[in-house]
């Protein structure tokens, strides 16, 4: 891809933002297990959390390429901030944008874009992960309300969210066709959160269970129609995957940058590490993989922008980017030697952060299933 001028300008701006606002506090943020409100507000203000939302709903009204640029640059410096950004930019915005009524968009989407509200997306359950069709959370229409009961697990932002988009079963026995999506206000009676999970990586994002006990959700808060829940979730994840792929690309690039820098500084056997052919070849290998991911990802963003179906492509992006992020982070840490194993160097955090990329928003195996499914149909 050859960037247009507007994309180059955006890239420059986000890069500066990431260097000044995101990077300096990444280690501290991880220790605190949270992202500061100040940073959240800035992300919203610059519309990094709403790149693809049209201007009329307070978003940036930009294209998917811009979204990928933002995700890549931010995640390069802090993967947790990347997760926070993509949760708002696609997991929460995209279902509202694509399936919400005008009223719902005004009430919920505009508050996400302005940063007044934080959203969450609740699909996964203790018994339903890769097999998202095994939902047990249920919603029963009683008078003017749907009464929701159930438990969602691993929900990004749940502890700090103002509302969540939740998938629940409205008609048992109909499988995925019996599910619906709801906008659930987090301060409704009966909504609570589990403990903040003690995670290996992206420790500054807050992840917990979301528990609903006889929660009365007004009828008008159903998103789309009854029975559309699974469709909405899958459609959302299609776009979400571009975001996570871009995040993984940023993580890989961040690791790469650290490796290059360190290899030039560190001297052994009278030379810098970068003078050893093995190290050079390692770096060449890493760089090539990263550039291949970048090419596929930006092409997919353009396809999406052009209105083409990207189910297979977004799965390939997410799969490849996640695996490459892990491989590159591994090699980059290796280049750091013992110092790489110590928390004083950012590569240690990057290495841990990389691990989630191949798990959430569909594991690498699920992506392979999607790819093979398209290929063999």
């Amino acid at each position: 891809m050859i960037f247009k001028k507007e994309h180059l300008l955006l890239q420059k701006a986000v890069r500066k933002f990431a260097e000044e606002e995101v990077q300096p506090y990444a280690a501290e943020r991880e220790k605190e297990g949270a992202i500061s409100r100040d940073l959240m507000e800035k992300l919203a203000k610059y519309k990094y959390t709403s790149p693809i939302v049209p201007k009329e709903y307070g978003g940036a009204g930009a294209d998917y390429t811009s979204y990928v640029i933002i995700m890549e640059e931010i995640s390069k410096k802090c993967a947790s901030t990347g997760t926070f950004t993509t949760a708002a930019a696609s997991l929460v915005s995209s279902p509202l944008l694509n399936f919400g009524t005008e009223e719902q968009k005004q009430k919920y989407l505009t508050r996400i874009t302005s940063g007044e509200a934080i959203g969450a997306f609740g699909l996964t359950e203790p018994g339903a992960g890769s097999d998202a069709s095994g939902q047990t959370t249920n919603a029963v229409l009683v008078g003017d309300n749907y009464v929701l009961n159930g438990r969602k697990t691993f929900i990004t932002n749940a502890p700090i969210a103002d509302f969540a988009i939740v998938i629940a079963v409205t008609e048992r026995g109909k499988g995925v066709k019996g599910t619906s999506a709801f906008i659930v206000d987090m301060n409704l009676e009966g909504v609570s959160c589990g403990a903040h999970e003690d995670k290996m990586g992206i420790r500054a994002t807050e992840t917990s269970d979301l528990i609903m006990e006889n929660v009365k959700v007004p009828k008008e808060n159903i998103l789309g129609k009854e029975g559309q829940g699974f469709k909405i979730a899958m459609h959302t994840l299609d776009t979400g995957r571009i975001g996570v792929a871009a995040q993984a690309l940023g993580v890989a690039q961040g690791a790469m940058d650290e490796a290059v820098k360190y290899s030039k500084e560190r001297v052994q056997f009278g030379k810098s590490l970068s003078k050893f052919q093995d190290i050079q070849f390692k770096l060449a290998n890493m760089e090539t993989k990263i550039c291949a991911v970048r090419a596929l990802l930006y092409k997919t963003a353009e396809m999406k922008e052009a209105g083409m179906s990207i189910t297979k492509e977004s799965a390939m992006c997410k799969y490849m980017a996640a695996e490459v992020a892990n491989e590159v982070a591994y090699d980059a840490l290796q280049i750091h030697g013992g110092y790489g194993f110590i928390k004083d160097y950012p590569i240690e955090r990057i290495y841990r952060d990389a691990r989630i990329m191949s798990i959430y928003e569909g594991t690498s195996q699920v992506q392979q299933m999607v790819i093979a499914g398209s290929l063999l149909k």
Binding site: N138, R151, A195, D209
Partner: protein, 337 residues
């Protein structure tokens, strides 16, 4: 083992374990089982009771259906010691030659039984869950779980006497009480000196039962988020006390801070395999099931008929646990009289 003349051995004995002057509940189970076996063999059921000031307990044993209570009443026998008890019971065995000797598989029983068996040169089967008389030769077939319950081994002791078993508490039926029963008290001829006992009991500390031993528990009463608040565990404790059980919990209740992590059952908690597992207000997430689905019997109480817990439950009650559990408690009270 030397050759014995096994025909000289007769009658069934149970070890009447007492602590602080009270018979252990397992003794009543041993007497219940022992009476059945004695009837089949057409022999007497006797008990051996050691302690200090034990008269009340002898009466109790007779009321449960023991014919002869062999007693040793001495201040040195007030508390259990391996040396003291082994010496006296081994001597009694030599003198009276019981054919079968049953001991409860408590911590004391598991310590005592092997010492006696070794001293009187006979076989011992530990932790039996089933005892039967072989109709062919009158020997006792002792069945016990081995390899973590994956194998049930049936063991006989053909040539040596007495045939000794420790019996798992909570498996055998309890003996009924009948105060009109008659029996004899037979004081043992014994001598015991302080030097015979190498251990000295300085103090017996009763723990507040706070050390949770979910793994050893026969009954686990577990609660989840359905308890609504930490107070919910008080209700479960009442049930646990009736059953001499232990309190378990789901992770959700631990995360809420309602109970300590040491109670958590599941993938990241303890894996348990009790006789009965009560799941009260637990949805049955796979991470919870992983820790308890091997329980012998699972009883689920949940108000949601679609809760996944019912897929592993042997008995399921759809209802509000705050109504169901008190009813179980009162039913238990009426059954036990």
């Amino acid at each position: 083992m030397g050759k014995q003349d096994i025909n000289k051995y007769k009658n069934i004995w149970v070890f009447a374990e007492q602590r602080h002057g009270k018979l252990m509940p397992v003794v009543v189970e041993l007497v219940g089982e022992g009476r059945k076996l004695a009837k089949e063999r057409n022999v007497e059921l006797n008990a051996v009771l050691l302690g200090e000031n034990i008269e009340e307990m002898t009466k109790e044993l007779i009321a449960y259906g023991v014919q002869n209570v062999y007693t040793a009443d001495h201040e040195l026998l007030k508390n259990y010691t391996t040396d003291g008890y082994t010496k006296i019971i081994s001597e009694a065995i030599h003198e009276y030659k019981p054919e079968i000797m049953l001991i409860g598989a408590t911590h004391i029983g598991r310590d005592l039984a092997p010492r006696i068996a070794s001293r009187v040169d006979t076989g011992l089967t530990a932790d039996c869950t089933k005892l039967e008389i072989d109709p062919e030769d009158g020997k006792i077939k002792q069945t016990r779980p081995a390899f973590g319950g994956n194998i049930m081994a049936t063991i006989v002791c053909p040539e040596n006497r007495p045939q000794m078993s420790t019996v798992r508490p909570g498996v055998m039926d309890k003996a009924d009480v009948d105060n009109s029963r008659k029996g004899n008290i037979v004081p043992l001829n014994f001598s015991i000196k302080k030097e015979d006992i190498r251990t000295e009991v300085l103090e017996i500390v009763k723990s507040d039962k706070e050390i949770v031993s979910l793994i050893d528990a026969n009954f686990i009463i577990s609660g989840g988020l359905g308890l609504q608040s930490p107070d919910g565990f008080d209700l479960l404790k009442q049930l646990a006390e009736k059953l001499d059980g232990v309190i378990g919990s789901s992770r959700a209740a631990v995360d809420k801070g309602w109970i300590d992590h040491s109670h958590q059952v599941g993938q990241t908690g303890v894996t348990v395999k009790p006789n009965i597992y009560f799941a009260c207000g637990i949805s049955g997430a796979i991470q919870h099931l992983a820790g308890m689905n091997q329980s012998d019997i699972i009883i689920a109480i949940n108000k949601d008929p679609n809760a996944p817990i019912f897929s592993v439950a042997d008995y399921g009650i759809v209802g509000d646990l705050f109504e169901v559990v008190p009813q179980i408690i009162s039913q238990l009270d009426s059954v036990r009289g």
